[in-house]
């Protein structure tokens, strides 16, 4: 980044009266992603622009319920209400809600990539996945493909037969968001309602029904006997009560009436315990606000209620640019496709908008390599190589190439990416690895073949 751009940004940021700092995956998909996020939070704290009108901080998530999932245990070291599966008090509370003995709750699991390392090591032999397409979405996906074939048993619940589900022993047809009901939580902590628009076609069923049936078949139906999504949400409300992300006062009716409800939303005043009709909390960290960690001592999630600055030390990326691989490869998304493309690579107008991945490169780099816009080019890293058409644009750094990741097989950018992860968040380093590029001799064989869904 040019120094003058950084200085100008600081000038604007520092002199503004109010500010909102948002980031998405760009600074997070690094082996030092947590450090990057802490750095931005430090900026927000240093300028005091949090817990005030028109000020704040947020991370824009990549999926509809990226926020809600991370609040209630989608990550396997969590429990509902932003609780910690390693915290004895939290374990006892949730075990009580679920009607089980605390020792029956498992400990923290492993992250999505570690899962595959354990499959490779023979420690995990069976896998039940839901809407999971790691053959496209995880880095160094040649390794992922080998691991999928090592599994003794693999069952996939998915709404379409995606690239990963093709490795499964059993595929259970699940449902799309449009075929089920529930809530999602937006980046601002606003819980909104998703209504069912159509029934799942054919033998397809709602994912939660499939999971309940599996539990019954395993002769362990306890906790899997819900009659409708609302009953599941009501249990989540009870389970989240008293946690940081307290949903207890959120009802379907309140969501409809208020166009969404911001957590925490209480049924009982957290300080006095008296029943309360609470509208929700549109802004977190306001002066005088209550949270269950500080218990009234201050607005932030520490015992003394004060925020903390964290030293965000820089670490160079794993597999940095080098003499052999002098360029940076960065991967990401294009507007016409969603995640691993399982849905969007089947929709003709979206395929028309962006039919195949391209290698974005700066005109100066292209000139040096003798590559013109539309030429076939090869990008190579220590993991693999890919042949795609070049897209020559001056909107990218000259020492960096960009490839979108939504495609499988020979068009998959994640053949090239490195399986390095942030040690705290375990997020993979999708946004940088050393790479080299040269002009291809001609079109690759795949160029003449259409994808199955086309």
């Amino acid at each position: 980044m040019p120094e003058r751009a950084l200085r100008q940004t600081a000038e604007w940021w520092g002199t503004a009266k109010t500010s909102f700092l948002f980031h998405a995956r760009g600074i997070e998909h690094h082996s030092n992603g947590v450090q990057n996020a802490l750095g931005t939070i430090n900026l927000v704290l240093a300028t005091g622009r949090i817990g005030k009108p028109k000020s704040g901080y947020g991370t824009i998530t990549g999926q509809a319920n990226g926020q809600g999932g991370r609040e209630h245990g989608q990550k396997c070291d969590q429990l509902p209400g932003w609780r910690d599966i390693s915290n004895p008090d939290h374990r006892r509370h949730i075990a009580g809600i679920w009607g089980i003995d605390e020792p029956d709750l498992p400990g923290p699991g492993v992250d999505a990539y570690e899962l595959f390392r354990k499959i490779d090591a023979g420690e995990i032999k069976g896998l039940l996945s839901i809407c999971f397409n790691p053959k496209v979405s995880l880095p160094d996906n040649g390794f992922i493909t080998r691991c999928l074939d090592k599994l003794e048993f693999f069952a996939a619940i998915d709404f379409f037969l995606n690239d990963t589900a093709r490795h499964a022993d059993v595929v259970l047809p699940g449902s799309l968001q449009e075929e089920d009901e529930g809530t999602v939580t937006q980046v601002e902590g606003r819980v909104i309602k998703i209504n069912k628009a159509v029934d799942p076609p054919g033998d397809a069923r709602q994912d939660w029904r499939i999971i309940q049936d599996i539990a019954r078949a395993l002769d362990r139906p306890h906790g899997f006997t819900f009659a409708e999504p609302r009953a599941i949400f009501d249990e989540l409300r009870r389970a989240s009560k008293g946690g940081v992300a307290d949903y207890s006062g959120i009802t379907y009716e309140k969501i409809e009436r208020q166009m969404g409800v911001f957590w925490p939303c209480y049924t009982e005043d957290p300080e006095s315990g008296a029943p309360v009709e609470h509208a929700g909390t549109p802004r977190l960290f306001e002066r005088g606000s209550y949270n269950p960690v500080a218990k009234g001592a201050g607005p932030f999630y520490f015992a003394d209620g004060k925020a903390r600055f964290n030293v965000a030390e820089y670490r160079p990326p794993v597999d940095d640019a080098s003499d052999d691989f002098p360029l940076y490869l960065t991967t990401g998304r294009v507007v016409s496709h969603f995640l691993s493309g399982t849905q969007t690579r089947r929709i003709a107008p979206l395929i028309d908008q962006y039919p195949e991945p391209r290698i974005e490169m700066h005109p100066r780099l292209a000139a040096k390599l003798g590559i013109a816009d539309g030429d076939w080019a090869i990008a190579e890293t220590r993991r693999g190589r890919i042949t795609l058409k070049a897209m020559v644009v001056s909107t990218i750094r000259p020492d960096t190439i960009f490839i979108p990741y939504h495609w499988p097989g020979e068009k998959s950018a994640n053949q090239l990416t490195v399986a390095a992860q942030d040690p705290i968040s375990r997020i993979p380093q999708y946004k940088v690895c050393g790479c080299r590029v040269f002009k291809a001799g001609g079109a690759p064989a795949y160029a003449a073949v259409r994808e199955p869904q086309q």
């Binding site: 003058r4 507007v335 908008q353 020559v392 644009v393 909107t395 000259p398 020492d399």
Partner: protein, 218 residues
């Protein structure tokens, strides 16, 4: 029914983020399912990510209709220029060549021209065109002039365009910075064709010109 006179269509390309929502919404319309009548164009993708949505501007004197040898393009009493009449259109493409805004398209497989009709089925009963209902940044806005001037106090709606010697007035408004409109109350389209896209979205003072990556070696 007719489009209520107090409702207007405003296009503000400055606000377009290229999300393609308008294109998808248009594509899903039952009257032309699978084809978008709105065009979302990169101005110059080689040097900028700026996009601009292009709808039919609904000219007072539509050039497309004037050049049509089959009299297939009709303008309703409330000023909305319709897509080609199916029994009349001979798919000659005269309108495609003549339209100053590049709006009509001939669909060879169906032998007909189709274009944006401002969702006449919707706007004629006071509803917004589909594209304006989904636009997240109000680059496409359908409402009253008062609403627009409140939302964009620094911009003015313009509906006069100069194409060489031809002056065109349209039903659809283009939002322009007030500073430009006060100097010239119309858009000189042929002159604008010579403009180069600005390379960076954020103008950096004092050194705005030149390659922002000048210091980066390859």
């Amino acid at each position: 029914m007719a489009k209520p006179e107090y409702l207007h269509f405003f296009i503000d390309p400055n606000r377009c983020i290229g999300c393609q929502a308008c294109v998808q919404a248009c594509t899903e319309c039952d009257t032309h399912r699978g084809d978008s009548m709105i065009h979302l164009e990169f101005i110059d993708r080689a040097h900028s990510v700026q996009t601009v949505p292009v709808v039919c501007m609904h000219c007072e004197q539509p050039t497309c209709a004037e050049v049509c040898p089959a009299d297939a393009i009709k303008r309703t009493g409330d000023g909305v220029v319709q897509s080609a009449r199916k029994p009349r259109c001979i798919a000659c493409g005269n309108c495609v060549l003549a339209c100053p805004f590049g709006v009509p398209e001939v669909y060879e497989d169906r032998q007909i021209m189709m274009k944006c009709d401002m969702c006449y089925d919707r706007t004629s009963v006071g509803k917004k065109p589909m594209c304006a209902t989904v636009c997240p940044s109000q680059a496409l806005f359908f409402g009253t002039a008062e609403q627009m001037s409140q939302l964009r106090p620094l911009s003015r709606p313009v509906n006069r365009f100069q194409f060489g010697a031809q002056t065109i007035s349209t039903r659809v408004f283009m939002m322009m910075p007030e500073t430009l409109v006060s100097r010239r109350p119309y858009i000189d389209v042929t002159a604008a064709m010579e403009d180069k896209a600005r390379e960076r979205a954020i103008a950096l003072t004092p050194v705005d010109a030149g390659d922002p990556f000048a210091g980066v070696e390859v």
